[in-house]
């Protein structure tokens, strides 16, 4: 969200120009205008991060970003039934792989969600603590931007992951559950999520201050 301030036609043009620059996917540049100091850019980025955080901590995403040896399921994020476990590669174990039930697409007739390459996010990308509590906004931001943990993804790689990865995209087409009802969706659409990610990346992926648990 861009913090409201006095805008004139020149600022508007500058903003549009900045948008066009981003569409061409060149490295984000801070737009310097006499009325936009880097603090504004940072706070825009933090605002965008909050939107990203809201999506990342939605059940459709966080249920597979666990810190434990099991996935979660459901809007109440309970431990996945049938004692399925993470396994050495986040794909389960022989006899009880993710693919034992989850196919390449949702199976609405049986209630099994599915997507390409269904598996758990690595432990380095856990967005919860070992007691299934969500990481704070500050802590999750730090984890997400830590290239030693995130498979060496820089800002544009993160953006691509959010905008284009098939398994990530499942969150917006999650199919129907065992009760026949459609699974709930993240609070933003995927394009909105991608856009928020872009704005956050353009702002230099700022993280809010604070310790874990704040």
């Amino acid at each position: 969200m861009i913090r409201s301030r006095t805008t004139g036609p020149r600022s508007l043009i500058v903003v549009c120009a900045a948008f066009v620059v981003c569409l061409v996917a060149s490295p984000p540049q801070a737009e310097q205008s006499p009325a936009s100091p880097s603090a504004d850019r940072r706070s825009d980025g933090l605002a965008a991060w909050q939107q990203v955080y809201m999506v990342l901590t939605h059940q459709r995403c966080i249920n597979c970003h666990t810190a434990t040896n099991y996935p979660q399921q459901g809007d109440d994020r309970h431990r996945h039934f049938a004692n399925v476990v993470r396994g050495p590669e986040g794909r389960g174990v022989p006899g009880l792989h993710c693919a034992t039930c989850h196919q390449e697409a949702n199976a609405d007739s049986t209630g099994a969600p599915g997507s390409h390459n269904w598996h758990l996010a690595p432990l380095s990308m856990a967005w919860q603590d070992p007691h299934d509590q969500l990481l704070s906004s500050a802590e999750l931001c730090r984890v997400l931007t830590d290239r030693s943990k995130n498979h060496d993804m820089d800002g544009s790689a993160l953006l691509q992951h959010h905008a284009e990865d098939k398994l990530v995209g499942w969150a917006w087409e999650p199919g129907r559950g065992l009760n026949g009802l459609p699974r709930t969706l993240p609070p933003l659409s995927r394009p909105q999520f991608a856009d928020a990610t872009r704005r956050w990346v353009e702002a230099g992926t700022p993280c809010p201050p604070g310790q874990a648990g704040e």
């Binding site: 039934f81 049938a82 004692n83 007739s109 065992l178 009760n179 026949g180």
Partner: protein, 733 residues
């Protein structure tokens, strides 16, 4: 010899049947069902009943190739009778065991349980009740084969001996059973036979592997659900969301549009009405049911609610109920100081049996006759119920007993509700075989649960640290009320199955008062493997542990001191368990604890010690040592299996998601995700089983494993956490 058709199907459960109950020397209940007619006069004079003569040819068929087919007079649903009963017969018969095949007998008078008088499996009575019967059948068959050979050889029968399906004469003659079968069938059936001395047993007492193992491991064994008949249709039923509700209106347009759906119609149920869908196959039937729009009339039914029931039951438990036991001085407790009292309240939820094979029945109605296939624990009752729905006599209903994927009591229903549904559907589709399938959701939500219970106990502890006074109130639905069994097992307002394990405790407790309330919420209930012992053993054995701790006595020693000296089986089991577990109990790792429990049920004494730690906030049962006193062990391999697996079944009561709950009349759980049975990690890792050597007649092993495990585990947990768990299931430790 060929299997005779049993024409005597007239002797079925009728309204004028009655039960006679007497106590056995061992302290259990002997239920004998006597039928109408000539026996009534006997009853009046109190003379002992005439022994039944069972025709061997209904039980044994020797084929020309030497195969021996033995009919098993009750359902095999995992307990191992399919092997153990034929062992008894084959041993007395001196049959070549490698040639024996067992079949589950169809419903017929001759296959009724000889003590209970109906064809059934339950009460852990299979071996106990048919032990003598199957031995006699084997001995008579042998006698007739020998008589035939002796006649051929012109020698005396006593000069012959038998071994491995061969009769040997005194002068080197020999003849295979298969060759003698036809002649033997013409021999008179002896009225009395000499049974083997146990020292002569070749099979009985040996660890004999199951006959049904291989086909259960290669996919070839057909369970009821696997049945496939030409032209068969599959049906599912939409049951009301609240027990007993009725269909007000149905919009089946979308349902009927599912390809493969043939018929959609309302049917009466045991409680209320439902809608049946008949289709070519299961999946379209289920899809169609999911698309039915049913408006249910809930106006006339009570909506049971767990929260309300807990409140009601808890209040009732503080008032005296119908008296089950009143021994000694009812005022003794009042005279004891409050510092010497233990007051405890226990909560037990509804439990579903959930056998792995969902309930199913196949019926074909042809107008003047019908044919049924079902994995039934209650063939006599089921056959009669189906006949009634179809307007037939039971003799006109051929009832095949299918192998069943578990039962635990669920496949024995006095009201035969599933069979009645199937019959109602088959009636409508006359001429077409219809397989009724209950889905897992139907099963979890369909009622017939182990009832909810509250117990409230006040114990006055004497100066010797032993209980000096004991007031016990139990609250829970009567299982037998409203059934034909009520006449004999509900007396003075007390359903015996609700108090068994407390009322008949083997602990010597003076001033012992037990009473019970039987509320009647709108929830169908049923016996769940070990019935009353499921909750009474938990109460008794956890209280014993508390009392032992208060007395600062070893839990085994405390029990031994308190047990009635005449409780020989239970004492023997306790002693054996103590001996066999001593080594590991003395060497526990840190954060591990031992839990002890002992309990007698169905005339069998069981004691166990478990080693428990807490992992991921759940009890982890590293090992269990179980000792059993069950009289003669017919097949120790089966008995070991029953106890290894039965204690895993008993863990059901501890599972965090191991409760059926209702809110506003609706069952909240739908499937195993929300009502969760034990998985491998929940069960003991290893169970060593020890059988007290005995030559006494065998007593049951089907249910006795179940009651001891939950209290033993909880007793161990109490040491690890300092908490006494009195509410099941164990949601949080």
């Amino acid at each position: 010899m060929s299997a005779a058709s049993t024409a005597a199907n007239d002797l079925l459960l009728s309204r004028r049947t009655f039960l006679r109950v007497s106590a056995t020397a061992a302290g259990g209940l002997l239920v004998a069902l006597y039928l109408d007619g000539p026996v009534a006069a006997q009853e009046a004079s109190q003379a002992p009943p005439k022994p039944q003569i069972y025709p061997p040819d209904a039980f044994v068929n020797i084929r020309p190739d030497g195969t021996i087919v033995i009919q098993v007079n009750r359902l095999e649903f995992g307990q191992g009778v399919h092997t153990a009963l034929p062992m008894l017969l084959a041993d007395e018969m001196d049959a070549d065991w490698s040639q024996v095949i067992a079949e589950l007998a169809p419903a017929a008078d001759v296959y009724k349980d000889p003590r209970v008088g109906m064809q059934m499996v339950g009460g852990s009575g299979s071996i106990a009740h048919s032990f003598q019967q199957y031995r006699e059948l084997g001995a008579k068959t042998r006698a007739m084969l020998v008589a035939a050979a002796a006649a051929q050889w012109q020698v005396g029968p006593q000069q012959c001996r038998t071994e491995a399906s061969v009769v040997h004469g005194p002068s080197g003659q020999s003849a295979r059973y298969a060759a003698l079968a036809a002649a033997a069938a013409k021999q008179p059936v002896p009225a009395a036979v000499q049974l083997k001395d146990p020292a002569q047993f070749r099979l009985v007492g040996q660890a004999v592997r199951r006959l049904d193992s291989r086909p259960k491991c290669d996919g070839s064994l057909k369970f009821g659900l696997d049945l496939d008949l030409p032209g068969m249709m599959t049906a599912v039923v939409a049951h009301p969301p609240v027990f007993g509700a009725r269909v007000k209106s149905v919009d089946d347009k979308v349902a009927r549009s599912v390809e493969g759906v043939r018929e959609v119609f309302e049917i009466p149920l045991a409680h209320g009405t439902g809608v049946a869908i008949v289709a070519d196959k299961f999946w379209p039937a289920k899809q169609a049911r999911d698309r039915l729009q049913i408006d249910w009339d809930l106006s006339a039914v009570e909506r049971a609610d767990s929260a309300q029931l807990w409140a009601q039951y808890t209040a009732l438990a503080r008032t005296p109920g119908h008296v089950a036991v009143a021994r000694g001085d009812a005022q003794a407790l009042a005279g004891m100081a409050s510092g010497n009292r233990v007051v405890a309240e226990y909560h037990f939820p509804y439990l579903a049996h959930s056998p792995m094979e969902p309930l199913n029945t196949t019926v074909r109605f042809d107008g003047d006759r019908a044919e049924v296939w079902a994995g039934s624990q209650f063939q006599t009752v089921d056959q009669a119920a189906i006949a009634e729905v179809l307007g037939l006599q039971p003799a006109q209903v051929t009832f095949h007993t299918a192998m069943a994927g578990g039962g635990f009591g669920r496949r024995a229903t006095p009201d035969a509700h599933v069979q009645r549904e199937a019959a109602a559907i088959a009636k409508r589709l006359r001429g077409t075989p219809v397989k009724l399938v209950w889905t897992r959701e139907d099963d979890v939500q369909g009622g017939y649960y182990r009832p909810m219970h509250v117990h409230r106990i006040e114990i006055g502890i004497g100066p010797d640290s032993m209980p000096a006074a004991w007031h016990h109130v139990i609250v829970g639905q009567s299982i037998l009320g409203g059934t034909p069994f009520a006449a004999m097992l509900v007396k003075n307002g007390v359903d015996a199955t609700a108090v068994e394990g407390v009322a008949d405790t083997h602990y010597t407790i003076p001033n012992f008062h037990v009473s019970v309330h039987h509320p009647t919420p709108n929830v169908p209930v049923l016996w769940w493997r070990s019935v009353g012992h499921t909750h009474t053993a938990f109460v008794m054995e956890t209280l014993m542990d508390e009392l032992a701790a208060r007395a600062q006595m070893d839990p085994i020693a405390y029990r031994r001191k308190l047990l009635d000296p005449t409780a020989t089986k239970l004492r023997a089991a306790l002693d054996l368990m103590e001996a066999k577990s001593a080594a590991w109990r003395r060497k526990l790792p840190t954060q591990h604890a031992v839990g002890i429990a002992c309990h007698a049920s169905f005339d069998t004494g069981v004691a166990c010690a478990v080693e428990v730690s807490i992992e991921n906030k759940r009890p982890r049962i590293h090992q269990a040592t179980v000792a059993v006193a069950c009289g003669l062990a017919v097949n120790p391999l089966t008995i070991e299996s029953q106890f290894q697996a039965g204690v895993a079944f008993g863990v059901s009561q501890l599972m965090a998601k191991g409760a059926i709950t209702l809110t506003d009349g609706r069952v909240e759980q739908r499937n195993f995700d929300a009502y969760t049975p034990p998985y491998m990690i929940d069960a003991p890792v290893a169970v060593d089983v020890h059988i007290v050597p005995s030559t006494e007649p065998p007593s049951g092993c089907g249910e006795p494993p179940v009651p001891v495990i939950a209290p033993a585990v909880v007793n161990a947990l109490a040491q690890l956490t300092g908490t006494r768990y009195r509410s099941l299931p164990l949601v949080a430790i």
